[in-house]
Point group: C2
Chain length 419, copies 2
């Protein structure tokens, strides 16, 4: 690969399940982002089915267009996995048993108590003379292939197996061979402000965006908050860094109170860092979000240091029994109310002996709504030793989206109180 | 569209965030599956950036190849949303204010308390003379366009807004105009068996798959179980139905004990149906899965009828205080053990007064593992009035995957006990 021109990559995904839409292709986005982060430009993403001729054809086309070709999928143990045999045809190689891979497969499957099948031995066969990329999480190895001055990287389609290969082997190795044109992206993560209001706050900045050479800004809304993506394309690292730094500070001047982090930060990670730093502990009482708030909090490694417990109090009985919410309060104001949200947050804090309690109670739908309390209304409570409050969010959406937005609103309130 | 030939569709996704991999394209899979289900074949999926010329070019190419073109993304209120103006150029139309859309935007944003911006009025402008697809969940309408005997359907990129349009308008309307070649897929959902063992059980069937004309079978593994997808391509509905029925019954003969449902069924829905039918109630005590089991259970509409409460007992104190697990037991066997899993399941059942309790306790990682209890070991408990048991699953994986597989193992055990 030459370092003075743009290095192009083409991503090939293999699997009928993608073409008919049964499986969402998360692999292409993951790989594209990683390649992009080291300055490799993805020019095309192709998806083909489990047909030898189609796969072979996609290999030939990709080799004529791109410098780097990634291939995912079709390396598993069943009859519809044909990628390996196409690689053999394309390179004109035969299959050989790799002893290291075989030993790994045996140890992995014995741990799971399922080693017994001939089919597993077959997975230790790889095309002769290629370089193996070790699979920490599964039985199918990846391949690193240098061919006609181009690089082809073949990986399993199972996302977490592929991701480990990309992070541990592919990116570190490609980074060494590259330099030159610099592309950089920075994502600013916001919470608690809708896209249109954020756009207004930034209007006098976005109107003169042309002053920032090679810079673009995108608004990316989601149930977990609006992200602002800054992209800069230039010829030196210094110019790129300066543009990003300057533009970020302009955004911060206009909207800092909504910005919780950058790039891969999640609000639950940021909350975890603050709680750890301030030595605060947390308990959660959920109703309509049904466990999603605690699921997100416990996705953070080390969350057991500050997260004490969660209660999913779906029934009124559990709100009363575990959380100590009074029957009167529920009867007077209803389970979905400011008063009950506050009582839940305070209750879970007290029974857990934590510094902070948060709560959710709302109408996730699709049924159970009324004109006064429509589907999508969620009350969020917060309680610490000094204050107990509740706020609401209110938007029509399908059940899962109500849960997602409700969980985001709860984490947003918590973040605002502790930051 | 002619009914005696294959109807082809091309899907165009718009957004820089897709090309650089920041956002996973879930829309293409969703649309492909829906089109496929009514016999429309997706021949290509294209992704382009937020550039007018590239979008226009993709429209022109798609119109030369396909009968139906779907376009998603770039309809939002910010400066990087350019799809609408490209549609105007492509059709040579100007923008006009749509009063109905404007009234909808006002009512939606007033409910959220954020109507104030000029930017929202702009969203009520649509290309003259096209047909509007109403957006129940957001401000940007979709467009239904008939042009040069082809159909172009333009929708917002926000997934739940697009999905509602596809389900409520696009598929019902396309279905009416179609007939002819029949393609059908059926997915068999399994749980509790790894891909390689399932492949062995079905081996004497898959070896003679050629006897089933036009039929293919794919194995699709995931942390939520292996799915088997049967696809049949034929000229009459009767032939297709017969092939699928016959082949499904052959699979059932060999692996029925692992099959919990079909197509869009989730194991949590199936569990919900059984619990409702048998009038049983459920409570959940989670440790390492951190709320994911209850999150999945409460994704099912109507789950409040059988799900009483969930406890995420992350600390040993919460296991003792809320669930009544004895301190001796935790000290003797450790929090991750058969004994504690059983005590948690029994404890949550008793304090909740439900018929059934289930539990999880394990090492989600990345730290906290030991040779005897490695990261990925999860104990699953089940308790009813007659029996209390625990089983374990054990596989190395990143934190999120351990949570997903642990939640699946818990739901699998529950399903096996109540089915």
């Amino acid at each position: 690969m030459l370092s003075d021109k743009i290095v192009k990559a083409e991503l090939i995904s293999i699997g009928d399940e993608l073409l008919i839409g049964q499986v969402v292709n998360t692999n292409q986005a993951f790989i594209a982002e990683k390649l992009n982060s080291i300055g490799i430009v993805v020019t095309r993403m192709t998806t083909v089915g489990d047909e030898e001729s189609e796969i072979l054809d996609s290999f030939i086309k990709a080799f004529s267009n791109a410098d780097i070709i990634t291939v995912t999928g079709g390396l598993g143990p069943t009859h519809d996995d044909v990628t390996r045999s196409v690689v053999c045809k394309f390179l004109d190689r035969k299959l050989v048993l790799n002893e290291k891979i075989y030993a790994h497969i045996k140890s992995l499957l014995r741990r799971r108590g399922i080693f017994q099948s001939k089919i597993n031995e077959d997975q230790a066969l790889v095309p002769e003379g290629i370089e193996i990329i070790f699979n920490n999480y599964g039985t199918a190895p990846g391949y690193w292939i240098e061919h006609n001055s181009k690089t082809m990287i073949v990986m399993p389609g199972v996302p977490h197996e592929m991701k480990a290969m990309i992070d541990d082997v592919v990116i570190p190795r490609l980074r060494i061979t590259l330099s030159g044109k610099v592309i950089k992206h920075k994502t600013i993560k916001t919470s608690g402000i809708p896209e249109s209001l954020l756009a207004e706050k930034l209007k006098n900045l976005t109107e003169r965006i042309a002053e920032y050479e090679g810079l673009t800004l995108a608004f990316l809304p989601s149930p977990f908050g609006v992200r602002l993506r800054i992209s800069v394309n230039s010829d030196t690292q210094e110019k790129v860094e300066l543009q990003i730094r300057t533009f970020t500070s302009e955004i911060l001047k206009r909207a800092s109170e909504y910005i919780y982090g950058y790039d891969d930060d999640t609000i639950e990670q940021v909350i975890g860092r603050i709680l750890t730093e301030k030595k605060l502990t947390l308990a959660v009482a959920e109703s309509c979000t049904g466990g999603l708030v605690t699921d997100r909090i416990t996705n953070v490694p080390g969350s057991s240091n500050y997260f004490e417990r969660g209660v999913v109090a779906y029934s009124n009985e559990s709100k009363m029994n575990i959380l100590g919410v009074s029957k009167d309060l529920i009867e007077k104001f209803g389970a979905v109310s400011k008063e009950v949200a506050e009582a839940m947050a305070e209750g879970v804090r007290k029974i857990s002996g934590t510094d902070i309690g948060i709560s959710t109670t709302g109408i996730a739908g699709p049924s159970g709504g009324s004109p006064n309390k429509p589907v999508g209304l969620v009350w969020i409570g917060y309680s610490d030793a000094n204050i107990t409050i509740a706020v609401n969010v209110n938007f029509p959406a399908p059940r899962r989206i109500v849960k997602e937005r409700g969980s985001q609103a709860a984490l947003n309130l918590l973040w605002n109180k502790i930051k």
